[in-house]
């Protein structure tokens, strides 16, 4: 029995020598960190509008199979927009970095947004709330809507060797190469808010953000129901779309989303016209001019308007409607700015989508944290879809930005 200690020591030595062979093993410190990290409860966080900050989508729609060539299909066919709407659900990540699984606390995370805007300020704030819970070394960079600068910021971020880059790609297609670059540099990447091309998600851990198409399909249904209610027995119901600035997925999601939805949901609704106000897309005066001209052209046939922005655009729309003395037109828009919610409250805007800016940033940060904590990684997670109407608009005050 005197040999026993030696045997024990020998076993211990062997075990220690072999330990690397069995999976990853964490130092005590890392263990502790992981424990502490898992203990962090971010569900208590609220955004400025009093909503639960972290509100991932509950919806579990089945992801349809990708048609051979979506572009061959008609624009009114939902599947025509497959690569924009369902991007990322069925990609096979390549060369994905493995999660350290040593806990999210104290990580270094760099967030690169698309540009300066009050929305962005709020979005960064949301991410910051989560980052602070995990005591991250966190900083946000903004290229001020300039793609060339965004590339430069990405280079600089890579150079700082962070544990994760959170990126809002300025452009869905340019995102592919940006993702490749970050991935090649071996830096974990998570993209959010703007849905990139499917290919980009090959090089990203995943994507979180608003389900623009989904939201507008919901909005479309609510809108359609209201239109039918207000125009009983009408043969066709003419509607118009004020589009987003060209060159981004919202430009399509917020017009063709509803169009392709209504094509099946309520074929009676007929698209009269769609246009993006030029030269200034989000100038109320320009929008007013556009809509005034539409009212001249289509008169009473124009029953509904769907706007891609619930502030300047919507205000312009209602200015035009008031001048024409039209109160029968059902207007819906993408939200949720203060002006938009005010319009809903005044019973002018019928409905807007709930687009939490803080939640957007926060969900991205939280997803990253989960990955640090070694949890499984969802390729894609949407923000909760919700349509705000007069019924519940009060709940969303004060606005986030």
């Amino acid at each position: 029995m005197r040999r026993l200690p030696f045997v024990v020591i020998a076993f211990a030595l062997v075990a220690f020598a072999l330990s690397p062979v069995f999976g990853q093993s964490l130092t005590a410190a890392q263990q502790a960190n992981l424990k502490a990290s898992l203990a962090v409860d971010t569900s208590v966080l609220k955004s400025a509008d009093g909503q639960q900050l972290l509100a991932p989508s509950k919806d579990n729609r089945k992801v349809p199979a990708r048609p051979a060539d979506p572009n061959k299909l008609a624009e009114t066919d939902p599947l025509h927009w497959y690569d924009m709407e369902w991007a990322g659900w069925n990609v096979t990540p390549t060369n994905t970095p493995k999660s350290p699984g040593d806990g999210a606390i104290g990580k270094k995370v760099i967030m690169i947004v698309h540009g300066d805007h009050p929305w962005t300020t709020a979005c960064i704030l949301g991410a910051k709330k989560v980052a602070d819970m995990y005591k991250w070394n966190f900083k946000a960079l903004s290229p001020n809507w300039d793609k060339v600068v965004q590339d430069q910021l990405i280079d600089q971020a890579i150079n700082e060797k962070p544990d994760m880059i959170l990126l809002i790609p300025l452009d869905a297609k340019a995102a592919v190469q940006q993702a490749r670059k970050i991935n090649a540099a071996g830096v974990p990447l998570h993209m959010f808010n703007t849905l990139p091309e499917a290919a980009a998600l090959n090089y990203s851990l995943g994507w979180t953000g608003p389900d623009d198409f989904g939201q507008f399909r919901l909005l479309a249904r609510a809108w359609s129901d209201e239109l039918v209610k207000r125009n009983p027995g009408a043969g066709t119901i003419g509607v118009a779309y004020v589009q987003h600035a060209p060159g981004g997925s919202p430009y399509f999601a917020r017009s063709f989303g509803p169009i392709s939805e209504l094509a099946t949901y309520n074929p009676k609704i007929k698209t009269l016209v769609m246009a993006s106000p030029t030269p200034a897309t989000f100038d109320a005066n320009t929008t007013m001019q556009l809509v005034s001209d539409w009212l001249t052209k289509y008169g009473k046939d124009l029953k509904g308007i769907c706007a891609s922005d619930d502030s300047a655009q919507s205000l312009g729309i209602f200015q035009a409607l008031e001048k024409a003395g039209r109160t029968d037109v059902v207007v819906v828009a993408a939200g949720n700015s203060k002006q938009g919610m005010d319009l809903v409250k005044d019973g002018k805007l019928f409905a807007i989508t709930y687009q939490t800016a803080e939640g957007d940033g926060a969900l991205a940060a939280q997803t990253a944290a989960d990955w640090f904590n070694g949890k499984g990684y969802p390729i894609r997670k949407n923000l909760a879809q919700h349509i705000i109407t007069k019924a519940d608009v009060e709940k969303f005050y004060p606005p986030q930005w």
């Binding site: 300066d116 900083k139 960079l141 903004s142 001020n144 809507w145 300039d146 793609k147 060339v148 600068v149 590339d151 430069q152 910021l153 280079d155 600089q156 150079n159 300025l170 452009d171 869905a172 297609k173 340019a174 592919v176 190469q177 940006q178 490749r180 670059k181 091309e197 290919a199 060209p246 060159g247 430009y251 399509f252 993006s276 030269p279």
Partner: protein
């Protein structure tokens, strides 16, 4: 023999380079992350587009003209490159894109020289037309090509041949050096200055002023196009706002570089030095963790300072223009005497 050459006037003539060194030194001292090969590779890569665009734009300004269409030409060329690639292959689509830039320049040049409408107005018009064409052509969505070939090209353009030098940087350097050389060392090059300095002098000297100005606009179109082409090849996608910020940026840089809007003065190298200076400043600001508002603010201040400085120099010059040296001596003597008389 009377000649210029006081240290001060020299410092004034090469102001931009002085500024360049100053900013460089300042940033290097204050931010450790700044003075690194990696950081400068990043900066160089970042400025290639605007630097390339600035080449032609500067020549136009040397001719005393203005080209507001460059921003849209960048995007236009980019969209053509990616949009036509499936049909023409890159060789073809790039050729078309650059040619497109040249044609826009040609149209600008002809309108300016033949109808004698101020170039500010002409190019404002072509700018609007191009903006529409871009959206029309692209259907409102950015265009990308996602073949392995394009990724290969992109990676190559971004790969370091030497420290600091990537192919895309090299392209810009070659263009800058070539044009700067033409401007300084060839008759055609000097003609731009003479035309910009005084159109009728040039005309009387038998220089074809209209052709010279048109050539400048064509060059501007071409370099803007090249800038756009390279940029989209690097990012493998042609975005519709690519050139949006370039116009004001390049104008400011060119002025800060010391190219006079009145024409006859300046150089490509100066403009690029100015871009480099601004970019170093911007990077520094970001490294300090400050936002774009600070960038914009300082860009404005520098521009304002330069414009005011130039204007004030002329103002002073005119005030003392034609003073008689002997009288100034006499005055000094008298005042000395006056001082002596004081009791």
């Amino acid at each position: 023999m009377r000649s210029r050459g006081s240290l001060l006037s020299l410092g004034d003539r090469y102001r931009i380079y002085v500024l360049f060194v100053a900013v460089f030194a300042f940033m290097s001292l204050l931010s450790p992350k700044f003075f690194t090969v990696y950081n400068f590779t990043t900066i160089l890569n970042a400025i290639t587009m605007n630097a390339t665009v600035a080449i032609g734009f500067t020549v136009v300004m040397i001719c005393g003209q203005l080209d507001l269409s460059i921003g849209t030409v960048i995007t236009f060329a980019g969209v053509l490159t990616m949009g036509l690639q499936p049909y023409l292959g890159f060789a073809g689509s790039i050729a078309v894109a650059v040619l497109g830039g040249a044609i826009v320049g040609l149209v600008n040049g002809l309108l300016v020289t033949k109808t004698r409408i101020n170039s500010f107005i002409v190019t404002l018009g072509t700018m609007t037309i191009l903006q529409g064409s871009i959206y029309q052509f692209s259907g409102g969505n950015s265009i990308s090509v996602t073949t392995d070939q394009v990724f290969a090209i992109s990676d190559f353009l971004g790969k370091n041949l030497l420290p600091l030098i990537t192919p895309r940087v090299l392209i810009t350097i070659i263009l800058v050096v070539a044009v700067e050389f033409i401007l300084r060392r060839t008759r055609a090059g000097r003609d731009f200055y003479i035309v910009g300095g005084n159109r009728s002098t040039a005309w009387l000297a038998g220089i074809n002023t209209d052709r010279t100005i048109t050539a400048a606009f064509v060059l501007s179109g071409v370099t803007a196009a090249i800038g756009g082409v390279v940029s989209v090849l690097v990012s493998t996608a042609a975005t519709l706002k690519l050139g949006e910020n370039s116009l004001m940026y390049v104008i400011s840089a060119t002025i800060i570089g010391g190219t006079a809007m009145s024409g006859g003065k300046g150089g490509v190298l100066r403009s690029v030095a100015a871009i480099m200076t601004l970019e170093m400043l911007y990077t520094g600001i970001i490294l300090f963790g400050l936002g774009n508002e600070v960038k914009i603010f300082f860009a404005g201040l520098i521009l304002a300072y330069v414009v005011l400085y130039e204007a004030y120099a002329v103002y002073r010059h005119e005030k003392t223009l034609g003073q008689r040296p002997w009288l100034m001596k006499e005055l000094a003597a008298r005042q000395a005497a006056g001082a002596g008389k004081k009791r």
